[in-house]
Amino acid sequence: MTSRPSRLVVPALAGALFLSLLLATAAGSVPLSFPGVVEALLAKLGLPGDASALGATGETILFTVRLPRVLLAALVGGGLAVVGAVLQAVFRNPLADSGLLGVGAGAALGAVLAVHLGLASAVFFALPLAAFAGALAAVLAVYFIAGASGRASLHGLLLTGIAVSALAGALTSVLLVATEEFRVKTVLFWLAGGLDGRGWTHVQAAAAFVLSGVALLALLGRPIDVLSLGEDEAASLGLPVRATRLSLLGLAALVAGASTAVAGSVPFVGLMAPHALRPLVGPLSRRLLPAAFLGGATLVVLADLGTRTLSARFELPLGALTACVGAPYFLLALRANEGRG
């Protein structure tokens, strides 16, 4: 019952992701040969390939630096895009994003707190864990403050999200001022978003949260679709609206929080990928969520490649790059949206 071109979108996106992963693995400050990368990867997977095709240095760069980094970029991008798609359905707003729930502001506060207390340098993984805890705390605060008056309305949630974000932002700046200067740099790097120096432990941690969260969200595809019809209609179709919404927001916070914890703030990916793909594959979750995952992953893999290669002198912040593309996209989409309604 689906038209032919839209059936090709997901395979095309999968192909694009595969190619961009290969490209991002090969390109960088030390370029690796494309066939060499393929050979080494095949050999690693136990398939016929020449393990020494890149030489010892090339192999070290590939397996300890490049590969974890591009895989992490894919996980972060895919996770944020799926969260964006889900939030856009739950809030019935095609321009919703995880930032609305206070994820970014909460994560930043958690990270700055960990740095301020000196935990970040003392305990490995303390910064991402604190960022993750901050994101979850912000989302829970938003949900329960908005729901305190009885039932949480959508407007209430959005406005509470803005208020909680503002408060977290204020506390973050107070802490930043009070933090010793040599520590501020750590947190600024993290706030700007980036994947520099991330290794396999980060990939494992992100994969556990992002992939399980995304899988659960995909399982809830049909309830998400029903919820997108509005509260009354969803309730009249037998959906437990409040419980469903709470589970979806919890999973969204888990995935977005984990992504933010490892990569810092990577804004607008959750907005752009699903928003651009919805006209192609339609809004039903069983088609939109896989497409958004692949599209978001490709976007961040390429953006990360850009941060490494656009400037020869220094690495650009990943979050700044996605914002430079995302903010104009958002403004154009906003205008189109207003022009219609």
Binding site: P94, L229, E233, L237, G238, P283
Partner: protein, 263 residues
């Protein structure tokens, strides 16, 4: 199955909005195969009544019974298989195709995980056919007129294959041709044994279609009975603040109504 089987009933129902009582002491019965129309001035409590009957609002007093059992004691999915609600305020995503929107009406039958089967696709096709929007099946909601979107909402309700159909101003955005088609569809559904209750703004249309009319004013039922009797009552003139006259026309089965501002 007797034709007088009660499908939905309310007993001394009251609903509060905040501290304000917006509906009080409403008792009614809706029978299988019946067309019951609810009329009343703006803010009389008609929409509140429909939403309370659908179980979307908690009663402050009294109770609603669906097929002989208290509404809240039904499991959610079982209730949604028996009772469908279609309102004129719908907010589906603009990129959603009509056929997919209507297919979401099968959710109470299949739940979150089970794939739609042949029976579901047949119910969807039938609902599209009955509402006359089969040609729009592949269109996206954002490309439809308000009236067409409303028909798609009704089709979703029909795809639920309910025993009770509740409608809040189903004809609000429809032109005259679509209105006539809508009420013909509702008659078909009713003849199939479904109990239909609809809030309708157009009094003349309401009187023409329904067998029985409820007048709601100030949160209470102030008149009930055959449409001609209800519209002819003092309660109706008072509720709307107009003078209502009925004119018998020999070529029509029902009287014709005219409305004038009260002096």
């Amino acid at each position: 199955m007797s034709a007088r089987e009660v499908r939905l009933s309310a007993d001394s129902l009251a609903v509060d909005r905040g501290k304000r009582r917006v509906l009080s002491d409403v008792s009614l019965e809706l029978f299988a195969g019946e067309a019951l129309v609810v009329v009343g001035p703006n803010a009389a409590g008609k929409s509140t009544l429909v939403r309370a009957l659908a179980g979307l609002l908690e009663p402050a007093a009294g109770e609603v019974r669906l097929c002989g059992r208290a509404l809240e004691s039904w499991p959610r999915d079982a209730r949604a298989r028996l009772l469908a609600l279609a309102t004129s305020e719908e907010e589906g995503p603009d990129a959603l195709r009509v056929v997919d929107r209507v297919a979401l009406g099968r959710y109470p039958h299949r739940g979150p995980f089970q794939a739609l089967g042949e029976a579901d696709h047949a119910a969807v096709a039938r609902a599209l056919e009955q509402t006359g929007i089969t040609p729009l099946a592949e269109r996206r909601l954002g490309t439809l007129s308000a009236g067409e979107r409303q028909l798609a909402t009704l089709a979703r309700g029909l795809a639920q294959e309910p025993r009770v159909l509740l409608l809040d101003e189903p004809a609000a955005h429809l032109d005259i041709g679509h209105q006539l088609q809508l009420f013909r569809t509702l008659d078909e559904v009713r003849r199939g044994g479904v109990a239909v209750l609809a809030v309708v703004h157009d009094l003349a249309r309401a009187a023409q279609w329904a067998e029985r009319m409820l007048l709601v004013a100030g949160g209470r039922i102030t008149a009930e009975g055959a449409p001609a009797l209800v519209l002819g009552s003092d309660a109706a003139s008072r509720a709307f603040g107009v003078r209502i006259r009925s004119h018998a026309i020999p070529t029509l089965p029902q009287p014709h109504f005219t409305f004038e501002e009260a002096p």
